[in-house]
């Protein structure tokens, strides 16, 4: 198990190399120049060239990339061309925030999703089942942007219960977590229901019932635990996407997450910021996938990694 985890982590090296290489060249293929954007409309070409030289943008692309890799392996991700903030500090701040938001969101999503899914599965075709699956359809289909504005309108503007955006307290995370988590809740609910229904038809469930276990034991210990594998997959994917940045949610609620850093970095052609953010996004995604795989073994002892 340990050597498996180590191998997977080592796999990160080629992954990161590929990700930075591709994003670097893609970004440079897009027209637009960070120096020009920084200097603004009133600047002369001389001003622009000075900035280019300062940030080494006048060098051939290969040289620029190798320089980036060279300092990145030493832990130096450079400074933002746009604002001179150290990229490492920016990433830490954004990652800390994105982690908080993603954790609260995935908690909200799994709480709602699992409960709704389990009840729906145990009471298939009941009124609750129909209602929750309709709700799930709604959750998946609703654009985050629209849902976010709606939540702000109701809970911030009309009721004054929660802040409309920004950061500061846990209360600031509630509306964004609901907006971000609702689609995941829907997916988790549907997956839990489907998987539970599948497991419920298995022989060992019938055997468990025949042995005389209480229904709750059958549902939670025998059915749910075995039904968790596909749910875990969904859970891991959703969490991975959240950690990769939730640009829309971050925009509606004016949150300083990694997603907006990346998107705004792309618009500003702020190469060091984009590269740094890509490294973070790729790393978290790989790690979450690894955690998911490890969790499989916990839920299903038959799964072993050697």
């Amino acid at each position: 198990m340990f050597s498996y985890i180590l191998r997977r982590i080592l796999m990160l090296v080629p992954v990161l190399f590929g990700v930075t290489l591709i994003s670097f060249f893609l970004l440079h293929m897009v027209p637009g120049d960070p120096a020009e954007l920084l200097a603004g409309l009133e600047a002369t070409k001389e001003d622009v060239d000075r900035i280019r030289t300062e940030y080494g943008l006048d060098q051939p692309l290969a040289v620029q990339y190798l320089r980036f890799v060279g300092s990145a392996v030493r832990g130096d991700l450079g400074i933002s061309i746009q604002s001179r903030h150290p990229v490492f500090t920016l990433l830490l701040q954004r990652l800390a925030f994105t982690l908080q938001l993603s954790l609260v969101s995935i908690l909200v999503a799994s709480a709602i999703g699992l409960v709704a899914g389990i009840i729906s599965a145990t009471r298939q075709y009941s009124a609750f089942d129909t209602a929750s699956m309709l709700g799930a359809l709604f959750g998946i289909s609703m654009p985050i942007f629209w849902l976010g504005l709606l939540l702000i309108l109701v809970f911030a503007v009309r009721l004054h219960w929660l802040p409309s955006g920004g950061t500061g307290t846990l209360r600031h995370l509630i509306l964004p977590a609901i907006a971000l988590g609702s689609a995941s809740a829907a997916v988790i609910a549907r997956m839990t229901r489907a998987s539970m229904l599948e497991v419920a038809r298995q022989d060992y469930i019938r055997t468990a019932r025949a042995t005389g276990y209480r229904e709750s034991v059958v549902v939670f210990r025998h059915a749910l635990k075995n039904a968790m594998i596909p749910v875990l997959t969904v859970f891991g994917l959703e969490f991975g996407y959240m950690l990769g940045g939730a640009v829309l949610t971050e925009t509606v609620f004016s949150l300083p997450g990694i997603g907006r850093l990346l998107v705004e970095g792309i618009f500003a052609r702020d190469y060091p910021v984009v590269q740094g953010a890509m490294i973070v996004v790729a790393t978290t995604f790989v790690l979450v996938n690894l955690l998911t795989d490890v969790a499989y073994a916990f839920f299903d002892p038959r799964i072993r990694y050697e």
Partner: protein, 518 residues
């Protein structure tokens, strides 16, 4: 009609009596409180010499002072300089400085500080805005601790405007020595509010400067939040999360005014929007075609329908509140005249062309371009609309004539020195073709250049403004662009906030007198 007015008058009177105590209470300024300001974007830099964005300049105005500064109506008033004299030839300017002013880090302000700040512009560091001063200033000398003498390379009638430019804020020499280019992350000025922190993408925090030379500011603290999304800013204001927001979309204004829970405050800005011609392209090189296109666009209708009245038609390239703006007679909406001129130029059935526009950079920019496109179509000119994100847009336009694909391009221009010369020269002078300057349409009229030069060397304001008027008249005769409009900046604020400055420079900020009811 008369009765209606009567009733209105009575209602006003009753209302005034009923509201009097509240109004009286509201006019008694209170001390203390935090102002939460919802800005549309992060500053680009908090080092004045390196900033080129409204958010950066607006935050700067709260932290910094200038030798002379603009008041809310763009008059030039003393700030850190108390008085000044100009030699007869216009080359020597001597400034008497204010005594007893201290930077936030304790460094005293004096003539050496002024010299240090200008030497920084003229020296090898070359901050972004160095080109504001390098062509003009020869040297700066300390006469005594509180007198400083500028020697100019050329007479320059807009010198005071340059000193009031956001970039020319006085920064602490000690802080600059310590931080160098990273002054942007550790700014130190003399202004009413001191820098605390800048968390990019989230907030800039300022606190009251108790030692401010004009007296202690009333607000304790200012939090400038980055709220990119327009509707999120408006909703946040309505929810009470922000006390002040910028850039309300025009279509939201009527509703907010009707509901009355927040106050909106529109101020004419100097941001001129126009569709610049690329005069190297056929048939736009023909003056009759350029005139025709100006006749073809109904600007009044655009202001009314797209901007809900939150813009003003302008006669040339220059926004209406700039020093030296002249309300010259320009092009009325006259499609018949447009067709006639097109026919004379040899295009009775119009022609095909393109129109480049940014999207979301300026107030309603894309909608404006669409309206222009439709109105040109009515006189037979088929303009295809091209748009791109700002970075790609700049890259496409900032190209020499041979590689420049844009026949016409929409831009907004707001002279940071609040004078008409900057509204014309950098974008229309013969020696400002890209890459030397920002003339991206390659317009060149020697007479115009001559008038601008005369305005620059004028030593009286009257002579200067007369030359500028003639320049604007010439721009009408020989159009450099389809002249459109200058936008208004609409800020929204809580009913409890008083004394916000909405400058025509599109800078929204607060000063020591701004206050908030508890």
């Amino acid at each position: 009609m008369r009765r209606t007015w009567w009733g209105f008058g009575v209602a006003l009177l009753v209302g005034a009596i009923a509201l009097a105590p509240a109004a009286w209470a509201a006019t008694q300024p209170q001390v203390g409180g935090t102002l939460v300001y919802g800005a549309g974007a992060d500053p680009d830099s908090l080092d004045p010499a390196n900033t080129d964005s409204n958010p950066g300049e607006a935050v700067g105005r709260m932290m910094n002072n200038f030798l002379v500064r603009f008041d809310a109506k763009l008059n030039l008033v003393p700030d850190l300089a108390t008085s000044w004299t100009q030699s007869k030839d216009g080359l020597i300017w001597t400034f008497k400085l204010r005594k007893g002013v201290k930077f936030h880090d304790g460094t005293p302000f004096n003539a050496q500080v002024v010299k240090y700040n200008f030497d920084r512009f003229l020296g090898p560091e070359k901050p972004l805005k160095a080109s504001l001063h390098t062509p003009i200033i020869q040297s700066v000398e300390v006469v005594d601790d509180y007198t400083v003498k500028f020697t100019l390379k050329v007479p320059f009638a807009f010198f005071l405007n340059n000193l009031a430019h956001s970039a020319t804020a006085m920064v602490s020499p000690e802080a600059h020595k310590k931080w160098g280019k990273d002054l942007t992350l550790h700014p130190v000025g003399t202004g009413p509010f001191k820098f605390v922190e800048w968390v990019r993408g989230d907030r800039v925090v300022l606190v009251r400067n108790d030692d401010y030379y004009e007296g202690k500011p009333r607000l304790d603290r200012i939090i400038v939040r980055t709220v990119r999304e327009d509707s999120a800013r408006v909703l946040g204001l309505e929810a009470g999360d922000y006390d002040l927001i910028v850039r309300i979309p025009p279509e939201e204004v009527p509703r907010l005014m009707r509901e009355g829970r927040v106050r909106t405050y529109a101020e004419q800005s100097n941001r001129a929007l126009w569709v610049k011609f690329n005069v190297t392209k056929k048939p736009i090189d023909d003056i009759r075609v350029r005139q025709a296109l100006n006749y073809a666009v109904d600007k009044e209708s655009i202001v009314k329908n797209i901007y809900q009245g939150l813009a003003a038609v302008i006669p040339t390239l220059v926004g209406p509140l700039n020093n030296g703006y002249a309300p010259v007679k320009s092009y009325p909406y006259d499609p018949a005249m447009a067709k006639k001129l097109l026919a004379e130029a040899g295009y009775p059935n119009g022609f095909k062309t393109n129109l480049w526009t940014p999207k979301g950079r300026y107030l309603k920019d894309f909608e404006l371009a669409q309206a222009v496109q439709q109105q040109l179509q009515a006189v037979g000119v088929e303009a295809s609309l091209e748009t791109a994100d700002w970075g790609s847009y700049l890259a496409a336009l900032r190209k020499p004539p041979a590689e420049n694909k844009a026949d016409m391009h929409l831009l907004g221009w707001s002279p940071s020195t609040a004078e008409a010369r900057w509204g014309i020269y950098p974008i229309s002078a013969c020696d400002q073709f890209y890459p030397r300057g920002s003339n991206l349409g390659f317009y060149c009229n020697k007479d115009l250049d001559g008038l601008i030069t005369k305005a620059v060397v004028a030593t009286s304001l009257k002579a200067r403004d007369q030359r500028l008027r003639e320049a604007q008249e010439l721009l009408v005769k020989d159009p450099a662009a389809i002249y459109l409009l200058a936008t208004k900046e609409t800020v929204g604020m809580s009913l409890k906030l008083h004394g916000v400055i909405n400058s025509p420079l599109e800078l929204v900020y607060v000063d020591k007198d701004t206050w908030k009811e508890k």
